[in-house]
Symmetry: C2
């Protein structure tokens, strides 16, 4: 089958073996897949992953032990827990110490004609939600994870730092809480997506120090933590959303003096993201920059890495 394979560089291959479903797994034909920042990191060596990258996808179930899912359009949670450790038993499979992760860690991913995933990872896509929308479920769930972890109330002053793919989704989700939201970014065209939703956006942070109750760092840059630290008030909360290769010096003493809470935040449950797309409370379509056929996957990766580009989608047909 066709696949983008990362092994001494990224290659497009047409002779990749068809994956065989493991115990309790389904075989899924991929319809569309999204390229995200983590994928760009993976082909730079992150997680020393080798194989097929890609973890944002919509597919059709071709083989499956569960009748109800056969032929259905699905998305899939990307963490595969062992199923028997304390974390898996507590429904914290995302933190299973023996987990593999679709397209990121020990598991071939979505930039291919087919993939396999455990049946329990699959979520049917409601009929009203298009494939181009559903491919956002995984990063959208990561945005919803913030309000799963931190109670954000209507009177809170909240600042999102960063206008990349994740920053915009976080902005869209946090605006649902009714909080007093500000999003700070560096690209007028990206911020314009939020501006159309009447979310206050800023090209520079001219805020007073310690102005916000909650600050979310989605910058993906080494200086993001320090900027966030300056903006959050005493006893406020700083949400860390992105991993960063090189981080500037971190002043932990000021966290003690101002009694700041720092919350690390990663993947989220797909349920809330699917509901938001189904009910139309979050509109992700303005975030699609361009689609490529799978054959042009290498070109698509180059394009996704260029400045000002948001979501790039690979279409398998």
């Amino acid at each position: 089958v066709r696949a983008l394979v990362f092994q001494d560089g990224l290659q497009f291959r047409t002779d990749y073996p068809l994956p065989r479903p493991g115990y309790n797994e389904a075989l899924i034909r991929v319809l569309v897949a999204g390229i995200c920042g983590t994928d760009l990191e993976v082909i730079r060596g992150y997680m020393t992953f080798h194989g097929v990258p890609g973890h944002e996808f919509v597919g059709v179930v071709e083989e499956c032990g569960e009748e109800g899912l056969q032929g259905k359009r699905v998305v899939g949670e990307i963490n595969l827990g062992c199923g028997v450790c304390a974390y898996c038993l507590k429904r914290m499979r995302n933190h299973c110490p023996n987990r593999s992760v679709l397209g990121i860690l020990n598991k071939d991913g979505a930039f291919a004609d087919y993939l396999t995933l455990p049946v329990r990872n699959l979520r049917p896509v409601p009929e009203t939600v298009t494939e181009e929308e559903a491919v956002f479920v995984e990063p959208l769930a990561a945005a919803f994870e913030i309000i799963q972890q931190v109670s954000i109330r209507p009177q809170d002053r909240v600042c999102v730092l960063g206008d990349g793919r994740l920053g915009l989704l976080v902005g869209l989700v946090l605006s649902l809480t009714g909080c007093s939201l500000s999003v700070v970014g560096k690209h007028e065209t990206k911020l314009a997506i939020l501006e159309k939703r009447r979310i206050p956006v800023f090209m520079q942070s001219n805020f007073a120090e310690k102005e916000f109750d909650i600050v979310v760092d989605c910058t993906g840059s080494g200086s993001g933590f320090e900027t966030a630290r300056q903006l959050v008030r005493p006893r406020g909360t700083l949400v860390l959303k992105s991993t960063v290769a090189q981080r500037n010096g971190v002043d932990l003493n000021s966290l003690v003096i101002d009694e700041i809470t720092v919350v690390g935040s990663r993947c989220g449950d797909f349920g809330s993201a699917l509901r938001a797309l189904n009910e139309g409370t979050v509109d992700v379509t303005p975030m699609i920059s361009r689609s490529f056929p799978l054959e042009e996957g290498i070109k698509a990766f180059d394009y996704a890495a260029s400045p000002g580009v948001l979501k790039v989608i690979l279409k398998m047909l």
Copy 2:
């Protein structure tokens, strides 16, 4: 009056001016005062403080606008807020951006015959509580601040790192929650104080990685954060209790991946500490290493800085 004064080194003086109470302040004759780690930092230049250090004290109210406090034994909250900013109005005076702090920032402290404090900072000491006990109220309140900020439940596995003055108080307080507690230190004599209370203590951390729900760093050392990070489980909480001059490199990415919450924790409200001493739920007396008269203050500071020493108390009479 007599005072220890820090100004080009620590000096004992007998000609220091009697402090005059400001608006809404009381004049307090100091009975006893405790030397804490912050005082040792102050005479090394921390906060570039000049004047009389000392912020743990018990005294008698000599002049006061409020009849009821006249002649009473009191302890005093050490943060002096401006009274009119958003933090002061929200009862978060400890975080007032214009605050002064007794013996630490722009306010003469307790290593003297007299000090002044706003009446609203004063708390009467119950008759059953001795002066040697009450001098622990300030650091004990800092220990109670942890359970004010973080819900610690009986089933939680909790680890306290550090067996200094603060680490022991935190151990004593957290044991009250009924949690499964372990305290890791480096001094057998210090840990013995907790061992007598049947609190499990360890000279080395031989725990499995990510074993604890909650880890409290009271080490005051550069490597404490990293050790704590290794011991806390995914989605667990790391409480940062001490400020550290030089910190080792901090890996914030692992906070994101394991979704750790880091909580900075500083001063606490005196009420719970006074209740604990009054009801005898916390026994601080084994932590007193030695008392000195005020005249021998410089010797007392040297002694407090030597290894294995816990609380050193200055007596004014």
